[in-house]
């Protein structure tokens, strides 16, 4: 198009900075051939010589984009006006101007097409921006396709010994770095902040290929000294005011002075989403934390996942055998190696792709809608086209004319869609699950714009081709007839019938998916977790061991804090537990009911152990079903050892016989059961409850205990503030997790379902609206075109009601056919959603039936107006019009 004398290779070699690619490409298209590239050259030169040195890369890029965007409309007009050397191009300009004029004359039509396309394109761009940011961009690690996670199952941790041995023996791994989750307590200016992070092998960042934005990552010496910390970007900005001088300084961590050696960039994706600080795992195996470790590894070049997995099985088997333990077949089978990106993104992939598919369906639906509009519009211009053909216009030219019109509208639709996407991303952010990696990187970037442009182009081809072909294929002999009435009515009717049917089919698929997820979410919300989460606030303080070394100190701390909280206005009960339902963490123990003799140690049943204090059951709203709760002396740990169990435990241990009064041996100690409480869903509302035994807090004084505060008011906002205040007032040196609302925590466990449901419901209702508009438009058009026929029929004595019924039937027939065609597809789509549904049968015919009924109803409503118009046809007038 324009003189590309230099070419990109030229500037690459000389290292000249490059302006933003897409904007520059756009500018090249907009420049006139007669400009000989001077315009692009001018802007490039200013970019390189003035703006880059002055504004830096980002600022200069923004400047460049601004220049292109502001110049675009004027340049476009200038290009269209310009007499070009090639006649085809001149004709194109003329056609574009004609297209503009046609659209200006029919604003309602233009608006309908633009809005419909903007809806379809907008939803698509929104989903694409998420899919692109989260799934499509490679993880910000070097050669990330070679990174793996051995032993992906969280329940199957490596021991410290195994981690060390694996590093030495595995030949498939170029490097391997173990890690263990950790909780760090930063103290800064008297205030403490608790931060999740990890203890990692010193080569962790080297293995990932991640470099620090400030300072450095770990070196081997850090592991020897065990006093280095790397900060995440978020923690650095929040806690240390983004102070670049922090590198090299010491900060107080867990009461110890540690050196900040580096700060990571904002683009870093941690192995677990909430890590914000990293320390090294000590090299000395004796000092390694004895919690289980996990690991990440980098495969040696050319080694595949299967090969690595087979070696890992063999090597682990060796290590275990040396330790005197034989690996069972089952254990062997569960040893695995998965790609790191699968492990990080695996859960997010399915729902996001499902949503993307749904958004694409919606776009398709929008296309069908626009097709009907374009055909109707083209139909009313048959006379114009026939005249132009007769006057010697080329058929291709007419087809191109129609395509251009649609293209212009699609262009406006795409612009509107991008603007809408920008706005809607704000709302979307609050819906995304917290664990979704890189959710903060979702933006309307150049890729999203390019995608939208491409999608818009596809819609032009999809919606414009058919009408264009028909316009260019029309016989000029039709001129005589065309001047009076439109020709080819029959073919048009058939096409319209098929389009409405297709519309109905697509809408059904969307509606069924939406109804399925809506029902699933309703079921999830209705699940009784066994406790009442409303009006409950929870907070988890972390009294540091430096200040509260002994159990008695902890006990005094929690006692006083509980009293403070209980004294707050409106507070009904305050209790505590070591692992709050719906939050991670667990303690399992095997038990033996009194009087039974297990065959061997392995077959002893196990129970979850809960440590509770205060009025925990009252605060949570967990009912006492039998016996009594702990009395004050039992709470203090005096006298006989006692326990409470849940109903499930009673059933598992005693086969339904009363548990109260019986004894159970747990961890070498006999406990008498004094009461039975209700079952609680512990980890997720989707999972059932399991056997639980509650023991008094004094039996295992837990340093970080979740306190549960129930109030009788609705004002949890005030309660949140009051709880924060009281924890600070008790001891400002104690950090806390929370306070949070318990029902929010419960909701958080199905954030993925909520995302899916909200968006599918949005797509479904948009689809319904589009479908209704489509059915209305087509039928209204058909009635209008047949006014003469209707008029004659009424004049010949047909009742208005009969005519109206005819219009209704004709409108509903294609919808019914579409429902029939769409039903199997909808069932298939439901099957695809199955993994994301809870308590809803995807193949349940009632969902399909209700969605179909809804669609029929909406179509019927859309048909009322055209039917009434048919009824009221005035024969005299309609005949006179001809």
């Amino acid at each position: 198009m324009s003189g590309d004398a230099g070419g990109p290779g030229h500037s690459d070699r000389s290292g000249t900075p490059r302006p933003p690619r897409w904007s520059r490409a756009l500018l090249q298209r907009l420049e006139r051939p007669s400009d000989c590239g001077t315009l692009v050259g001018d802007l490039d030169e200013e970019y390189v010589h003035f703006q880059r040195p002055r504004l830096g890369r980002q600022g200069a890029d923004r400047w460049y984009r601004g220049q292109v965007l502001r110049s675009a409309p004027g340049l476009l007009l200038r290009r269209l006006r310009s007499p070009s050397r090639r006649t085809g191009s001149a004709a194109l300009g003329t056609d574009l101007r004609v297209a503009m004029r046609v659209l200006r004359r029919r604003p309602a039509y233009a608006l309908a097409v633009v809005v419909t396309l903007a809806l379809g394109l907008g939803m698509n761009s929104m989903l694409f921006s998420v899919v692109h940011a989260v799934l499509m961009r490679p993880l910000p690690y070097a050669d990330s396709e070679r990174l793996v996670r051995p032993m992906p199952d969280d329940l199957f941790f490596l021991s410290t010994h195994e981690a060390v041995e694996l590093e030495m023996r595995m030949t498939s791994f170029e490097s391997i770095a173990a890690w263990g989750r950790s909780l760090f307590l930063f103290t800064h200016g008297g205030e403490a902040e608790e931060v999740r992070g990890a203890r990692v092998g010193w080569n962790h960042f080297d293995m990932l290929g991640v470099e620090a934005a400030l300072g450095r990552t770990f070196v081997a010496d850090d592991a020897v000294g065990d006093d280095a910390v790397v900060l995440g970007h978020g923690l650095w900005t929040r806690h240390f005011g983004a102070d670049p001088a922090i590198v090299g300084r010491t900060v107080e961590l867990q009461g110890r002075a540690v050196r900040v050696v580096g700060v990571l960039g904002p683009e870093h994706v941690p192995i677990e989403y909430d890590w914000q600080a990293w320390r090294t795992l000590p090299l000395d195996p004796d000092r390694l934390p004895n919690t289980g470790l996990a690991a990440n590894a980098r495969l040696r070049g050319g080694v595949g996942l299967e090969q690595a997995r087979d070696e890992l099985r063999t090597v682990l088997d060796e290590i275990w055998r040396e330790g005197g333990y034989a690996m069972s077949e089952e254990e062997r089978a569960s040893v695995d190696v998965v790609a790191l990106d699968d492990w990080l993104l695996g859960d997010a992939r399915r729902p996001l792709l499902a949503l993307f598919a749904a958004a694409t369906l919606l776009l398709l639906l929008a296309c069908v809608n626009v097709s009907t509009l374009v055909i109707a519009h083209g139909g009313s211009r048959e006379s114009e086209f026939a005249v132009r053909l007769a006057l010697g216009s080329g058929r291709l030219r007419l087809g191109r004319q129609l395509l251009l019109e649609v293209g212009l509208l699609a262009g406006f639709g795409a612009l509107l869609a991008l603007a809408a996407t920008r706005v809607s991303l704000v709302g979307l952010a609050s819906l995304l699950p917290a664990e979704l990696p890189r959710a903060d990187a979702i933006e309307v970037g150049p890729e999203v714009m390019a995608f939208t442009a491409l999608a818009a182009l596809c819609t032009v081809l999809l919606t414009g081709t058919l009408p264009a072909l028909r316009a260019s294929g029309r016989r000029s002999a039709g001129l005589a007839g065309a001047v009076g009435r439109g020709s080819g009515t029959r073919a048009r009717t058939r096409t319209r019938f098929m389009l409405v049917a297709g519309q109905a089919a697509l809408t059904l698929v969307l509606t069924v998916s939406a109804v399925l997820t809506l029902r699933s979410l309703a079921t999830l919300r209705a699940v009784d977790p066994g406790f009442d989460a409303m009006a409950v606030v929870t907070v988890r303080p972390s009294p540091p061991s430096a200040r509260y070394p002994e159990p008695e100190d902890l006990s005094a701390y929690y006692l006083q804090l509980s009293e403070r909280l209980a004294a707050l206005p409106g507070v009904r009960a305050v209790g505590g537990i070591q692992f709050l339902p719906m939050t991670p963490g667990g303690w399992w123990a095997s038990y033996r009911p009194e009087g039974t003799v297990p065959a061997d140690e392995e077959s002893r049943p196990s129970t979850a152990m809960r440590v509770v204090r205060g009025a925990y059951f009252e605060a949570m709203g967990i009912p006492l079903l039998d016996g009594r709760l702990f009395d004050p002396s039992e709470e203090r740990g005096e006298g006989e050892a006692v326990a409470l169990v849940n109903r499930r435990f009673e059933e598992e241990a005693f086969g339904g016989a009363a548990a109260v009064g019986r004894s159970v041996e747990v961890q070498g100690r006999n406990r008498r059961i004094v009461g039975v409480v209700g079952d609680v869903r512990q980890s997720d509302v989707r999972e059932g409850s399991h056997a639980e035994m509650y023991v008094p807090w004094s039996a295992a004084p837990w340093r970080r205990t979740h306190l549960v505060v129930r109030s009788d008011g609705d004002d949890t906002d005030a309660l949140l503030a009051a709880v924060t205040r009281e924890v600070r007032a008790q001891d400002v040196g104690v950090s806390m997790l929370g306070p949070r609302r318990l029902h929010r925590i419960v909701e958080g466990t199905f954030a993925d379902t909520r995302l899916l449901t909200t968006l599918l419901a949005l797509f479904g209702s948009t689809g319904l609206a589009l479908g209704a508009v489509g059915v209305y438009g087509v039928t209204a058009r058909a009635v209008a075109e047949r006014r003469r026929e209707l008029g004659i029929r009424i004049a010949l004595g047909a009742a208005g009601a009969t005519v109206a019924r005819g219009a209704l039937t004709e409108g509903l027939l294609p919808v019914a056919l579409g429902l029939l065609l769409g039903a199997p597809v909808a069932l298939l789509a439901g099957r695809g959603l199955e993994g994301a549904l809870y308590g809803v049968d995807a193949s349940d015919p009632s969902t399909l039936a209700s969605a179909a009924a809804l669609l029929m109803l909406v179509s019927l409503l859309a048909l009322v107006a055209p039917a009434v118009r048919a009824w009221r046809t005035d024969p005299a007038r309609s005949l006179r019009e001809e």
């Binding site: 001077t38 001018d42 802007l43 030169e45 675009a72």
Partner: protein
Amino acid sequence: MGRDGSLGAFEELVLLAVLRGRGKAYGMTVRREIVERSGRSVSIGAVYATLERLEKKGLVDSSLVEGNDARRGRARRYFRVLPAGVDALERTRAGRAGLWEGVDLDAAAAHAEEAG
């Protein structure tokens, strides 16, 4: 250009910027000159449209010269003000001077304040 041959405000700016370039003015320098001297934010597209208009009116002419690295070899179009352009600037200035004559801004400001 109005019917009397006077220049539009932006045309005047562009023409002056070309004149200031002393035969070495092209799109980028014209844009920068206007931005730096008048403080107005101007898009390159607007500059091009105006230069083209001025050329069509015969107030400037241009010649193509090969470009350098920063332009990835793209040509430069140097502009030069023709005698007709100088005349147009002169007429515009004269027309404006006529209007300015006898205007006392300080007095006008004081008057406006009283009225307000």
